[in-house]
Point group: C2
Chain length 457, copies 2
């Protein structure tokens, strides 16, 4: 039987499988979910073993890694499949139309936290491998699975793990399914990823909280200090004010820029999706270029003071802001972090002390469309979806992809089956079910094309 | 028996009484404590009835008011005693050395939420009245109690209640025990209170939360917008930038300023208390004047985005900042609110919409030291504490005191028995127990002096 026929027949079972995985609330950023992360890892280990892969859990300082391999094609290329089983917190809960961890089909979509990011896309790869093994009894290439549980934390330890385990992970190509189409009917391949520097800036004023009536006007206010720092980190033209922040930015190649121009990005549709009139950002660049090829700086949350209902007249002793920077080639995270730390110190008003803590660092990365693996991926996509993919960059960071490229020296094929309106990290995340099936077909075909390559060293 | 002798004999029972009231966690800003607010009101109603006062609970839209009266001195003045039974939230809980609602004596202090603000000071008045009634069988003046449960909310409804219930509350003098000494051995009377405009500024960007990797650099960020607004509300010299904000500010009289100069305020001790090197604020004014006679603007909390542990790469759809202004005579809260709202609109960056909600408004107020009631209060204080009080202003707002002065046209005697290091609104709030006893003696004597006045119309 053709693996694609098998996949079609198993469609509803594959969906039930995905639902089972989604029901495990594997939120990596919150300690109370840690047992669920382990359950998710064990579920995946069992799932791979059921396919007769050698699979085991690798303990790390943080959440377990699931490793699996099928090495029955000696002399053929090895494909390293990547996905992550951890998800973002579901809050704010009251904005979900169905419970975040009770996967619910409405229309063509499956709604749940993790449906698109990344459990649906992880299961695409597992189901494609199953479809080969249950029909041909073998795969045309060797396959390794590297599945992590701390991607939503910025993969802080996993990126250290990869360079130290080059032998285990050695591969000719890596496949990262953790992204999305360019538009609803426009499949894409990713040629660049932004890097990340994610920090917490803590501001401290008095040694204890103060009554704002009694002390207001003659005491340091750490919240106001953070506001001044945040406001000072970008100028009126939307440019980040950190010295030499843009010095290492490599402009997109003329070829890449030309490909983007053909994309006919629809500003109006983008405004409509966000329900805004303007898309504020760095002056002088289009929306796509700002998201793909320009670095940025964003605030994610401010902790401190009184945030309950009603008034409380307190000047807090300390407050913390979560601030991140997205980087592009050839910015270096550590250099940016140093310059950021100095800038924050400069912007700190008198009476307040600040400290910068790093929560996550990731390199930016690029992959050329001319890579053979990229051409095979493009062909598989075109055959299944009836149109060639466009080449785009990814504004987000996939730290492991940068490691695959830099440490394993294996080109990374970033083939995303999400849609731009999947509401990743937000309430009512969903996954487009037709893309679940077609994604499985695409990976089946990609594996086949890879196997037709000349035998490897 | 002299009422003071009685009070001394009853000291430990009075303390147990206070502890019972403190154990009721009557936090007015959090809905889960609402039943406790009612319990506290009922406890006080019973406490007043046990003294043979006519007492009852007055239902309001918010937390109940406790009213009580002893009108057995016809022709004599009527004193309106004020206190509030609600308290601030106890968070952050882990910084308390003993549980916030388990009153604990350490050394000369009673530690608990509400010990100083305001349950201890409310009980001073009740115990003073008891001491008269249980010894002389009568009071030298008529007494009314007006005890509210929403002071920590800024008394939003109570201030409307007072002008509508002038007959019930009619009095010649009001006594407000909800403040503190100038310094540990320096009793004080308050000649001015700051007013308050407490707002919530909501900023809205996109219609839903966005992934900062995908959208960062080309989307409105409401948290950044709030940071810009907050940073824009004060200039580099610490002055509030709202147009004409300072136009109505009445400078302190030469007499008042002279009295303050004699206070020999110790900047160094203030820095040590706060554990800071500088006390940021409006340039050109001393610390005392900035806290007592200059208006200010403070941020109390920012809600929105991700505030849990670890990184979450979200651009929130909306965020809210709690921002308040303290006003001085003759600023008018409503006019300030209008100007603030216009300024916030002006400071709002493109792509973000803002709205200002009012949570609390209070007039500033002044009372002259020359008022007869103020002179009697000064005399009572001097007799009990062995030194005359200093005249100070209060940086905080006591909205009802402003109403007593403005609507009831009764001079308000603000006689506070707290100490400046009582950590109001913060962890480890405490009340100095010697001041509890001496406070009762002072009110006993104040009532006596009031009763010696010429009979009233």
């Amino acid at each position: 039987m053709d693996p694609r026929t098998y996949a079609r027949e198993q469609r509803s079972r594959f969906l039930e499988d995905l639902k089972s995985l989604i029901r495990i609330p594997s939120v990596s950023t919150l300690p109370e979910y840690h047992p669920d992360l382990r359950r998710a890892a064990q579920w995946l280990e069992q799932r791979l073993r059921a396919l007769d892969l050698r699979a085991w859990i690798i303990e790390s300082d943080s959440h377990p890694i699931v490793y699996g391999e099928w090495m029955g094609a000696p002399g053929r290329p090895t494909l390293l499949c990547y996905g992550h089983y951890d998800v973002q917190p579901p809050d704010p809960l009251d904005e979900w139309e169905s419970p975040p961890f009770e996967p619910t089909v409405r229309g063509d979509n499956l709604y749940a936290r993790g449906a698109s990011d990344d459990k649906g896309q992880l299961m695409i790869q597992i189901c494609a491998v199953e479809s080969w093994l249950r029909t041909a009894g073998r795969l045309p290439v060797n396959v390794k699975f590297f599945i992590e549980g701390e991607e939503e934390l910025g993969s802080p330890r996993v990126t250290g793990f990869i360079p130290k385990n080059k032998r285990l992970l050695r591969a000719d190509v890596s496949l990262v399914c953790d992204g999305s189409f360019f538009a609803s009917e426009v499949p894409a391949l990713v040629t660049g990823l932004r890097g990340l520097v994610y920090t917490e800036v803590e501001a401290r004023g008095a040694s204890h909280d103060l009554h704002s009536g009694i002390y207001g006007g003659a005491a340091p206010n750490p919240l106001e200090a953070l506001a001044r720092i945040i406001a000072g980190l970008r100028d009126r033209r939307g440019r980040v004010t950190i010295p030499r922040y843009y010095a290492a930015v490599r402009p997109p190649s003329p070829l890449e820029r030309e490909a983007w121009e053909r994309l006919t990005f629809d500003d109006k549709a983008y405004f409509a999706e966000l329900d805004v009139d303007v898309a504020p950002g760095e002056e002088g660049y289009g929306i796509l270029e700002r998201r793909w090829a320009r670095p940025t700086l964003e605030v994610h949350g401010i902790v401190g003071g009184y945030t309950g209902p009603g008034p409380k007249t307190v000047i807090p002793a300390r407050a913390t802001a979560k601030i991140s920077m997205r980087l592009v080639p050839d910015q270096r995270p550590k250099a940016v972090l140093r310059a950021f730390t100095r800038k924050v110190a400069k912007l700190t008003p008198a009476g307040v002390r600040t400290a910068v803590r790093v929560l996550s660092l990731a390199d930016p990365a690029v992959v050329a469309p001319e890579e053979p693996a990229m051409r095979m991926a493009a062909r598989a996509i075109e055959e299944v979806f009836g149109k060639p993919p466009v080449y785009m960059r990814e504004g987000g960071s996939v730290p492991v992809a940068a490691e695959f490229i830099n440490a394993l020296r294996a080109p990374a094929v970033l083939m995303g089956f999400g849609l731009p309106d999947d509401r990743l990290h937000a309430p009512n995340e969903k996954f487009h079910l037709p893309n679940f099936s077609r994604g499985i077909d695409t990976v089946i075909r990609f594996v086949e094309l890879l196997g037709e390559q000349a035998p490897q060293g």
